[in-house]
């Protein structure tokens, strides 16, 4: 409701600068009064460009149930290669649930059920023949809170390569650890204390360590669930830079509560609301010209 007066004000000011005063941090909104493509919640299919030419993941009609409760409702969306997809939406709308479908992490929750199809490079990841551990090895995951294992920095990064036997010799392993820490932008800070416990690192360092740990398995996709929510602005900037670099070689899906962050790091944005995918499209387009009433309400802060 805070936004109502500002909205009126910017209307009153009129003219060319209305848009600029309205949008924070480069979010430029179309003046109101335009026609929305959609206003309804019970539309079924989302607004925007669901499919992409070069899809890593293709989700079709994906629903997730936790017991009787449906947390994700018939979501259809593609994740493109070498691109960052941001998933935004209010708390409890199913962003994490969506993310955890992609590497079958929901399998670890008793009572969770997934319907619909998700393919990775054209292969159904929920098929009976799919080896779940192998699937997850192809998909890196970074969590909201930095959660290094209670082991040394080195052992944290080496954990994945060890269980998958990616390194034949100690030198190979050293090399993987070095490369992963380097890519995560952490090498210079920890190179002198690789054998000390990871818990001794700062929060931001721990999070980059978790990213290094995920990279060490040489995944094809990286899933990030609010990776910066426990970090200060400097550490956040570090991680965002890192995402920008990783984008060259990985498909990345990031859940974030910060719309500024979504705008900064992603090329596509998906807006979820109450378990439904409401709108998806190029980040610039979604933020400057949302087609669905609910999307606009959310990104202008009039959500509620």
């Amino acid at each position: 409701m805070i936004h109502e007066p500002r909205r009126a004000e910017s209307h009153g000011a009129g003219g060319a600068d209305a848009g600029r005063r309205f949008g924070d941090g480069g979010l430029n909104l179309k003046p109101s009064g335009r026609q929305h493509v959609s206003e309804s919640l019970e539309g079924g299919s989302p607004v925007g460009e669901v499919s992409v030419a070069d899809a890593v993941f293709s989700c079709r009609d994906v629903s997730v149930f936790y017991g009787d409760k449906q947390a994700l409702k018939s979501v259809t969306i593609d994740v493109a290669r070498r691109q960052v997809l941001a998933a935004i939406g209010p708390s409890g709308c199913g962003k994490s649930t969506f993310l955890r479908c992609l590497n079958r992490m929901n399998d670890t929750i008793p009572g969770a059920r997934v319907t619909g199809t998700i393919t990775l490079d054209g292969r159904d990841i929920y098929s009976k023949r799919q080896d779940v551990a192998q699937l997850r090895a192809r998909i890196g995951m970074v969590f909201q809170k930095p959660n290094p294992f209670p082991k040394s920095i080195y052992d944290n990064v080496a954990y994945g390569p060890r269980i998958h036997r990616l390194a034949r010799t100690r030198a190979d392993l050293d090399d993987i650890v070095f490369t992963s820490l380097q890519r995560a932008g952490l090498w210079d800070e920890v190179k002198d204390r690789l054998s000390s416990l990871a818990i001794g690192l700062s929060g931001g360092q721990q999070q980059r360590l978790c990213i290094a740990r995920a990279l060490a398995v040489q995944p094809e996709v990286i899933l990030m669930d609010e990776p910066c929510s426990a970090l200060d602005p400097i550490a956040t900037a570090h991680v965002e830079d890192l995402i920008e670099q990783l984008r060259a070689s990985y498909a990345i899906v990031i859940v974030t509560h910060s719309m500024q962050q979504a705008a900064r790091v992603s090329q596509r944005t998906a807006y979820f609301y109450m378990g439904q995918l409401i709108e998806v499209g190029d980040t610039d387009r979604v933020f400057t010209n949302p087609q669905h009433r609910l999307t606009e309400d959310y990104i202008t802060g009039r959500f509620g």
Binding site: N103, M105, T108, P110, G111, A133, Q134, L135, R136, A137, R138, I139, G140, M141, F143, K145, N147, F149, P150, K151, S152, Y159, G160, I163, H164, S195, S196, L197, I199, G200, C210, R213, A214, V217
Partner: protein
């Protein structure tokens, strides 16, 4: 803007005077309340301190009376009491070695049987069991812990011992008895009662404790930690072995020591199935005795003062062994903790 609102104005006018009086009386009440709270706090502290001191006094009393009762035996036999295995009430000669041996062997056997089973149960309950099975199995384990030890003793004597005597022990004697080095452990006449039977009964008795503690510590492992293991493509086994176990090592050791402490001191069930023979034998199939079984079994027959004193001296030894186990566990935890700190 607030002043312009007539409703606000009226509210502030009417409410202020009464407010002040109210505030005053409530300040006094609050002070009284604080004083009362302080007194209660002091009483509370005093009583908990008294409880703690009472415990120390009790412990001291037990130790003193044990030592006092055991004194005649210790002063008569000196070191021979723990190095000799004669136990002869007729000649009034007592040496505890066979009882010490039996205590250690049965407890070791119990740990060997109980550890893998308990670990398996705990892993199953925390990581693998479907939700509908978790509760029944969990409750069953708690019930197992609640069964009085005499029942285990009766069951061991009338059910387990004959079964072992008729099938397992002859098989062991025939097949494992010829093995080099370890063969001696399995050779001998199948009595049914003896170290092996006692070890199995003890194992069944301590499994509920160890598995319950292990389950509880496994459950303290944060989900995010397990998920990051799974996220890296680890299998359930790899997550358990490389994430859950290292994280809960301290708690697991605690659970194991709890079980070991129980196994060392368990009396009733062991007395039923150990055979109560003061002898040391390499064979696990042969009868023997343990410290607590000997005490329970012979206290009523102890006719001479030296006999009684020797039994109390056995009690002292059990106390020392149990204490040593707990101390060793503490030391181990301390070392683990220090290593963790040193590398931090």
């Amino acid at each position: 803007m607030a002043v312009a609102d007539p409703r606000l104005l009226r509210w502030s006018e009417t409410s202020e005077p009464s407010n002040r009086a109210e505030a005053m009386s409530s300040a006094e009440a609050f002070a009284r309340h604080l004083a009362g709270q302080r007194l209660r706090e002091r009483i509370f502290r005093g009583s908990t301190l008294a409880a703690a001191i009472l415990l120390l006094l009790l412990l001291g009393g037990v130790v003193v009376s044990l030592l006092h009762g055991a004194w005649p035996a210790f002063s008569r036999f000196r070191l021979a009491f723990i190095t000799k295995d004669v136990w002869n009430p007729v000649t009034d000669q007592y040496g505890a070695l066979s009882a010490i041996y039996g205590t250690l062997v049965t407890s070791a056997l119990a740990m060997i049987f109980a550890l893998p089973v308990s670990f398996g149960i705990a892993v199953f309950l925390t990581e693998l069991a479907p939700p509908w099975l978790k509760r029944p199995v969990g409750v069953a384990i708690e019930l197992l812990a609640a069964i009085p030890s005499i029942i285990f003793g009766i069951w061991g004597l009338f059910v387990l011992a004959p079964a072992l005597q008729n099938s397992v022990e002859p098989w062991m004697d025939g097949h494992l008895g010829e093995l080099p080095l370890v063969g001696a452990l399995f050779r001998g006449a199948p009595y049914g009662i003896g170290f092996l039977t006692a070890g199995i009964v003890l194992a069944i008795m301590i499994v509920p404790f160890i598995s319950a503690v292990m389950r509880d510590v496994f459950e303290t492992v944060p989900d995010v930690l397990k998920e990051s293991g799974y996220g890296l493509g680890a299998t359930t086994w790899e997550v358990i072995w490389r994430v859950v176990v290292p994280y809960s090592r301290t708690g697991m050791i605690g659970g194991i020591m709890l079980g070991l402490g129980r196994a060392l001191g368990e009396t009733m069930a062991v007395t039923f199935v150990i055979g109560n023979a003061h002898q040391i034998s390499a064979s696990l199939l042969s009868p023997g005795t343990t410290i607590s079984a000997a005490i329970a079994n012979e206290f009523t027959e102890a006719t001479t003062p030296l006999y009684t004193s020797s039994l109390i001296a056995l009690g002292v030894l059990l106390f020392v062994i149990t204490f040593a186990v707990i101390a060793a566990a503490r030391l181990m935890l301390l070392r683990l903790g220090r290593r963790a700190l040193a590398s931090a």
